[in-house]
């Protein structure tokens, strides 16, 4: 991948706007995500975090502005093109194949990476490489024991782990995680943090996160999103000391 060039951000948003009818949700947002960093987006409810993720990953096209992945424009492309360009995302609400086995859930993504998207002439059980890589991801997210169970039967935190695993399978270098620890207990959150840390080693991570513990423990930089714009971007320590941020966000949370 070319993302190692430090001068060139892995992901760049410039003047991005998005309106739904008369309501402007994202208002000329600028943001650079450096290659290899772990970057968190925080912000009060309704600040536009989910919309931002949907714009980057291709669910919606931006109304204006430019989004580029490794200096290559991806604004307005369809989700599958953006994925093939090297960006994968997870979903806030668990978004898996409920009736397929855990193994198959992961294999779908691995197959996409190997470019056998439309393979019709060979049973998948004989694709050694694909199955081995699937097992590897399965092991990394700690779901070996549930390999053959229908994904719909997993516990909530297992489904969240599967969700992260699926995001990894296509081999994208830029990973977007949407509230990966939402709804988890303290222990589950700690485990999820370890998981995210190991699986995003050497990749670029952008995540939406509410839990400040997770943000501090995991991320190199934080951007605060308020009313569809970035209020500040800095290290977690300096962000928490930032007066403006405290007023806009942390203060509000405390009250």
């Amino acid at each position: 991948m070319t993302g190692t060039n430090l001068d060139q951000p892995a992901l760049r948003l410039a003047g991005v706007k998005k309106s739904f009818g008369p309501i402007e949700v994202i208002r000329g947002l600028n943001l650079d995500i450096r290659a290899g960093e772990r970057h968190a987006i925080i912000g009060p409810n309704g600040a536009g975090k989910s919309t931002l993720f949907n714009l980057i990953s291709g669910m919606f096209a931006p109304s204006a502005g430019e989004i580029s992945l490794n200096a290559q424009s991806i604004a307005g492309l369809s989700p599958h093109r953006i994925n093939r360009a090297g960006l994968a995302r997870s979903f806030q609400i668990t978004n898996i194949f409920h009736r397929l086995s855990v193994f198959e859930n992961l294999r779908i993504g691995v197959l996409a990476r190997h470019g056998v998207r439309y393979g019709l002439f060979r049973p998948v059980s004989r694709m050694r490489q694909v199955n081995d890589e699937t097992i590897e991801v399965l092991t990394r997210v700690g779901l070996e024991a549930r390999s053959n169970d229908p994904a719909g039967d997993l516990t909530y935190s297992e489904q969240r782990a599967l969700e992260i695993g699926m995001t990894l399978t296509t081999g994208a270098q830029v990973i977007l995680l949407d509230e990966p620890t939402a709804g988890m207990s303290r222990e589950e959150t700690a485990k999820a943090m370890d998981l995210i840390r190991t699986v995003t080693e050497g990749k670029t991570l952008l995540m939406v996160e509410h839990d400040m513990g997770v943000v501090f423990g995991l991320c190199d930089r934080v951007s605060v999103l308020v009313y569809g714009n970035v209020l500040a971007t800095d290290t977690p320590e300096r962000i928490s000391a930032n007066r403006e941020v405290q007023e806009a966000y942390l203060g509000q949370e405390a009250s």
């Binding site: 990953s57 369809s78 989700p79 599958h80 994925n83 093939r84 994968a88 995302r89 979903f91 978004n95 898996i96 194949f97 409920h98 009736r99 397929l100 198959e104 859930n105 294999r107 779908i108 993504g109 197959l111 996409a112 990476r113 056998v116 998207r117 439309y118 393979g119 019709l120 002439f121 060979r122 049973p123 998948v124 059980s125 694709m127 694909v130 229908p150 719909g152 039967d153 699926m166 399978t169 296509t170």
Partner: protein, 428 residues
């Protein structure tokens, strides 16, 4: 173990399919040809709804296209084009694939109920256009041809047609089975479960759906061309909505969640219509009633119910259960008897023959003949009989149903996810 047992079962079935037909009469041979064709049609249709979650109401289009393509090739063979007759279904496959790609491109632009409506409209497009296109579809009367001999085979007897059909249906059925094990087959299932996620894993879901649609249309085209070979004729009525409706009924009554479910439905309905279509004009009504009852009380179809019982066969206490099922069967027989009696009575009383009889009887209501007995429409007993049958059967069925439900809830078996019925891919 299970794999070996299934293989043995299939092998036994295959032996029966090969060995028995020579000893059957022409009518039965013909009926079996129709069963095979309907089975392939239903399997191809179920590739869409059972695997990809796409509900097509217009599969008659590809069935008809396959039939016409085969007939055109057969006409060419008659005129001396050197092509082996056994390979004629290839024409249906090619035509089905081509039209399927085009139609699928349009139909899969929308999902959910819209998809169903667009497929229906595309079939109606063919239905309305075909009688006007003399050259391709032969106008209202259609086109005909003859099966030409190939090497030592004359294709003059129904038995030869049967074996040809059997070979093609087996090849295509095995192909479909193998399809489910390819990467694309697994992807099809993923699409049914969650189209959005498939898109975010780097697949163009529109292309995937177009390809699944085209494969389904291709095999439907093979089924259509087998029908053309068997009948040696085809006209625009092959595009009619009742052809599309038949395959929907058969597939869901058989069970769309089980691979072989559609074959069960196709076989049951085709054989029944062979047996009773001479006896009643209301066969389609009965089919509709059966379909609605299945939708209401056993949405996973015959195949789904069978599979559920086979999966749980070891945990089940069969003795009380079989007693209950026998009771339910008795109730069902009573209800069926009552319904059939009422329906056939109405068919007689509102029929044209009876109108003539009434005129001859000077406007009064003469007695009519049904099931080998005479019935007087003014006699209260004539109406009491079906009502008693229905009420009795209903009472037995309702109470048995309660016991059966209680039996299963008591832990007689686990709820398995495979019995879950289909869902449409994507919300409308």
């Amino acid at each position: 173990m299970a794999a070996i047992r299934n293989t043995l079962l299939l092998a036994a079935l295959l032996v029966l399919l090969i060995a028995v037909p020579p000893f059957l009469g022409l009518g039965w041979q013909n009926a079996l040809v129709n069963v095979l064709i309907a089975s392939l049609f239903a399997l191809a249709f179920n590739l869409l709804i059972g695997q990809a979650g796409l509900l097509s109401f217009g599969h008659a289009a590809y069935f008809g296209i396959g039939a016409f393509a085969a007939l055109h090739l057969m006409i060419a063979i008659e005129d001396g084009f050197p092509f082996p007759t056994p390979l004629v279904p290839l024409a249906g496959a090619a035509a089905g694939l081509l039209i399927g790609l085009i139609a699928g491109y349009f139909a899969t632009m929308r999902s959910g109920v819209y998809f169903a409506l667009v497929t229906l409209a595309i079939a109606e497009l063919f239905h309305s256009l075909a009688p006007r296109l003399e050259a391709v579809f032969g106008g209202e009367s259609g086109i005909s041809s003859m099966r030409m001999p190939w090497s030592d085979i004359t294709f003059g007897s129904m038995l030869e047609v049967y074996y040809l059909t059997l070979a093609w249906v087996l090849i295509c059925g095995l192909g479909l089975w193998a399809y489910t094990r390819t990467p694309f087959g697994r992807l099809t299932l993923a699409l049914r479960d969650n189209e959005q996620r498939v898109r975010f894993l780097g697949y163009s879901t529109h292309s995937v759906k177009v390809i699944v649609f085209a494969v389904s249309a291709m095999l439907t085209g093979v089924a259509g061309s087998l029908q053309a070979i068997s009948n040696e004729t085809a006209n625009y009525s092959l595009f009619a909505s009742d052809v599309s409706a038949q395959v929907v009924l058969q597939t869901f009554v058989g069970g769309s969640t089980v691979f072989f479910g559609p074959v069960i439905g196709a076989a049951v309905f085709t054989l029944f219509s062979f047996l009773v279509s001479d006896l009643t004009r209301s066969w389609v009504l009965y089919q509709g009633l059966i379909f609605v009852l299945v939708m209401l009380y056993a949405p996973s179809g015959i195949g789904g119910v069978l599979q559920h019982h086979i999966r749980n066969r070891r945990q089940l206490d069969w003795r009380p259960l079989s007693g209950l099922y026998l009771l339910a069967l008795a109730g069902g027989v009573l209800i069926t008897a009552g319904t059939v009696f009422l329906t056939e009575t109405v068919a007689v009383l509102f029929g044209e023959e009876y109108a003539v009889a009434r005129r001859n009887a000077g406007g009064s209501l003469p007695a009519y003949e049904l099931f080998g007995a005479h019935w007087d429409p003014t006699d209260i007993f004539t109406w009491l009989l079906p009502l008693v049958l229905l009420a009795g059967g209903g009472a037995i069925t309702v109470s048995t149903r309660r016991h059966v439900t209680a039996f299963w809830n008591r832990g007689g078996g686990s709820r398995d996810t495979a019995a879950r019925p289909v869902s449409l891919g994507g919300a409308a």
